[in-house]
């Protein structure tokens, strides 16, 4: 089974790109499975159901979404296997820009949109920097110059990735993405797979539900800023 980790900020067009990709792959009789990792309830599951794409939504709720993601990735894989899927796609929003769901040996995709501003490629962390493919969306509504500047900045932030433009609405550009995906290879099991980049530590009183602010309440792995100078 092929696997793909797709990450990107909320509303950048992840679901649209995945749906365009799967519409194309399903025409070639490829059976997909999608797991949507989210923090709070979203409506994206319905989008996939409408396309007859098997989907599970996994909600982190009160947990750190990316730690939640890692602890459920094996389960997602097993679920997709049980469906006899040919390709599993995980979709997640890297909410803190410091997290990345990308795994070594599994094709990693970051979606980023032209409307997010030219400085965004510099601000997005490992989710963009460790990706194999970066998909730039919403190019149909900005000028050619802005598209060129944006693509250049993305390329600068991750010189190792192949950078593609996809229109999530019309599907323009999906051909190149589908080709990249079909040529990607990954192991037959998740045994021994590691994250491409460590996740931020979370081990303090606030992880355990503390809500009071102040010196006396912050216990554990905390970092304080020196505001003096």
């Amino acid at each position: 089974m092929k696997m793909l980790t797709v990450a990107g900020a909320p509303s950048c067009g992840k679901s649209s790109v995945i749906i365009q990709l799967l519409r194309k792959l399903m025409k070639e009789n490829i059976r997909p499975a999608v797991v949507k990792f989210d923090c709070v309830s979203g409506q994206d599951g319905a989008l996939y159901e409408k396309e007859k794409i098997p989907v599970r939504t996994a909600l982190a709720g009160s947990l750190c979404p990316d730690h939640f993601y890692v602890s459920n990735i094996k389960g997602a894989w097993d679920w997709a296997l049980s469906l006899n899927a040919d390709i599993l796609i995980t979709e997640s929003a890297g909410l803190c820009s410091r997290c990345s769901p990308h795994l070594k040996g599994i094709h990693a995709v970051c979606v980023i949109d032209n409307l997010s501003g030219v400085n965004t490629p510099r601000k997005v962390g490992p989710m963009l920097r460790t990706a194999d493919t970066v998909i730039i969306t919403k190019g149909d509504i900005v000028s050619q110059a802005e598209r060129e500047v944006f693509a250049y900045r993305v390329r600068r932030a991750n010189p190792a990735a192949s950078v593609l433009a996809v229109n999530g609405l019309s599907g323009q550009g999906i051909f190149a993405f589908a080709k990249t995906v079909m040529e990607s290879k990954n192991p037959d099991s998740l045994e021994g797979i590691v994250l491409r980049f460590s996740m931020p530590a979370a081990l303090c009183s606030y992880c355990l539900g503390e809500r009071k602010v102040g010196h006396d309440f912050q216990i554990g792995n905390t970092k304080t800023v020196n505001f003096e100078n």
Binding site: D140, S143, E148, R155, A160, V163, K179
Partner: protein, 325 residues
Amino acid sequence: MNSLPLAKMLEKNPVLEDFFLTYRLPEPEAAMSPEEFFAAIPESVLAENGTDRVMLLNHWQLFLSQIDEFAVSHGNLSSLEILGGLDKGGHDEPVRRLLLKPGDVLSVVGPTGAGKSQLLEDIECLAQGDTPSRRRILVNGAEPDDSLRFSVDRRLVAQLSQNMNFVMDLCVADFLNMHAESRMIENPHLLVEEIFETAIGLAGEPFTMNTPVTDLSGGQSRALMIADVACLSSSPVVLIDEIENAGVDRDKALKLLIRSEKLVLIVTHDPSLALMAPRRLVIADGAMSVLVERTESELSLLEELRTQAAKLYDIRRRLRSGESL
């Protein structure tokens, strides 16, 4: 290059500063070699940048190797050839071969849903019999390699459409400078000035270098986009999806693109825009059904349409200035 002190490398190649900006790295001390510099970055700085030492070094090497690539333009396109594929019913499409050269203008016409978008996508991704139309596109007479097909910064095709807007929060001058910078142009001022003057010449109503790009009217935006594509875009092919009639001089715009040796494709439902091209391709049922050369009588029809448009423009001007007609 790697054995030079890093500070020297930066001096010789200011483009490298971008890497330091992207990764928010401190300025290197004068004598430090790249190896020493990267080895000395504290773990905490790496973590705050969302990177680690291995990734950073790897990206640095790639960055160095790509510098020349960024500066490459596609000035070397000499021909684009579309080899016919199949229509929606799976039959051979009538037009079997279409040769296009820089400076050519081709209009693409046909009802909505006929397959104009597929043709554009075929050209954009340089199809090799692997899209639904089964068309093949040859670049300079040969099959293009994958890096030309699938990399966003080596795109052959620039696009202009009515739906495109400026979204950056910058004035015209800063905007053009930023674009020039991304094209590695070292002294962009003259070029920026030229683009600005050209855009003013195309736009019906003037604007200034200090106008925020988001404040430009539809016609002004289109004029600036066209001037920018003509003078600064790396792509030798320009796909135009309609240009509004109001506020931008379309004849001048086309002449400008032709002068810049662009290969221009215009998808349009507007008769006068369609007639501005010496050849027009008719799309029907997913196929390139016929290639029509513009006739002499069509050329005089175009003149007639221009006269009518000028008349309409004059009426508009008089209405706006408070005259009674």
